[in-house]
Amino acid sequence: MEPQNLIARRIAQELRSGMLVNLGIGIPTLVANYVPAGVNVFFQSENGLIGTGPVPEPGLTQPLLTDAGGQPVTALPGACAFDSAMSFGLIRGGHLDMTVLGGLQVDEQGRLANWMIPGKMVPGMGGAMDLVTGAKRVVVAMQHTARGKPKIVRQCSLPLTSARPVDLVVTELAVISFAACRATLVETAPGVKVGDVLTQTEAKLCVPDHVPNMTL
């Protein structure tokens, strides 16, 4: 399985029926492809929609119905549309059960940097800071390393997205939990040894006696 799809598939197992969930751009978007059978969640799109559905079939696009990247989407039965103040009221006000976001770095305490690389990439934070600050549960979907360098680090060298720590990081190698602000290795990917994860992680990880494989 492609690393991105493995990550998305593992994160999809965190979904529970009735949740309101916001998916970021990139790997997080793929999570919608792996919602387990029988689990019904509402996906929010921060441009003003709850009930975002799959990409429409050719010829059925509606120009006023788009995702946060401006791409056409559909709306599922029960969908609702609203303005940006309501959209971020939902996000910041504690109404969003889970957000899944991409990451550039996560530090030992679970603090995320994902919105800029000074001098290189300054896209703006968009909704990321509100999402990390306000969602009940924050899950990061990212590759374990970038050009061979660890992305789970002692201290973020890139500007933080929020002071609030994330709850879970899922990579193609491991699932790392940040409950109580301690980085704990809770699962490894199939075929990946604990030692493999540790050598590719800069942050100090707590390793329980038994670390199970991800079940996908």
Binding site: G48, L64, G69, G70, D83, S84, G124, G126, M129, A163
Partner: protein, 215 residues
């Protein structure tokens, strides 16, 4: 509310004006007003909006034409021209969290001086801002935003200026309609009074100054 031609509406806007512009990645942006701003070559504009879209659509057209002096937005990542002009110091870009930006606009329209938000605490966003402890938790004081003009895109506008919006084209539009000295509206459809049921009016007519006539 008055009806006005597209050309007359944009003639009201002087060089150097501040504009709030509806739209999210150009969905729900007032494209006719934007095209006319480009045609009349307005200069040194300040915009308050969600993003600068892409080259060739929505606010991206204002960027390409070099009409902007300042952009107060949450995202420029999909418009490389904004980035180039920012690096060349042709545009000043003030980036803020999207939820904070829309709340600052809401404050501007709702008679509030500022809002206290947890978003941005402990990040570079807090630089130069007051931080207040309320009930043992830190919040940033983010001040209200207003503009000279709001350029609003509605789905329906009735003959009195009541507005309703459609799907994800709503976004910033009903909020900016409250926060500018002069509110100019273009609509997908101009309809008789009563077509928009009272419960479905999202922007009440008294806040609308001009509805741009159909061609």
């Amino acid at each position: 509310m008055k009806t006005i031609s597209l050309q007359e509406a944009v003639r009201l806007i002087p060089d150097g004006a501040s504009l709030m512009v509806g739209g999210f990645m150009a969905v729900g942006s007032p494209e006719r007003l934007i095209d006319e701003l480009v045609r009349q070559g307005k200069r040194d504009l300040t915009i308050v909006a969600n993003d600068t879209a892409r080259p060739g659509i929505g606010i991206g057209k204002l960027v390409s034409a070099g009409l902007l002096r300042k952009a107060i937005v949450s995202h420029i990542g999909l418009n490389p021209e904004t980035r180039q002009q920012m690096i060349a110091a042709k545009i000043e870009v003030e980036l803020g969290p999207q939820g904070t930006l829309i709340e600052r606009v809401r404050c501007g329209g709702f008679g509030l001086a500022a809002v206290l938000t947890p978003t941005g605490v402990g990040t570079v966003v807090e630089q130069g801002k007051r931080k207040l402890d309320v009930g043992g938790k830190d919040y940033l004081l983010e001040t209200a935003l207003r503009a000279d003009f709001a350029l609003v895109q509605a789905f329906l506008a009735d003959y009195l200026g009541n507005l309703s919006y459609a799907l994800t084209a709503r976004n910033f539009n009903p909020v900016i309609a409250m926060a500018a000295d002069t509110v100019i509206v273009t609509a997908d459809h101009i309809v008789p009074v009563g077509v928009i049921a009272p419960d479905h009016v999202a922007t009440p007519a008294p806040v609308v100054d001009y509805v741009v006539a159909n061609n």
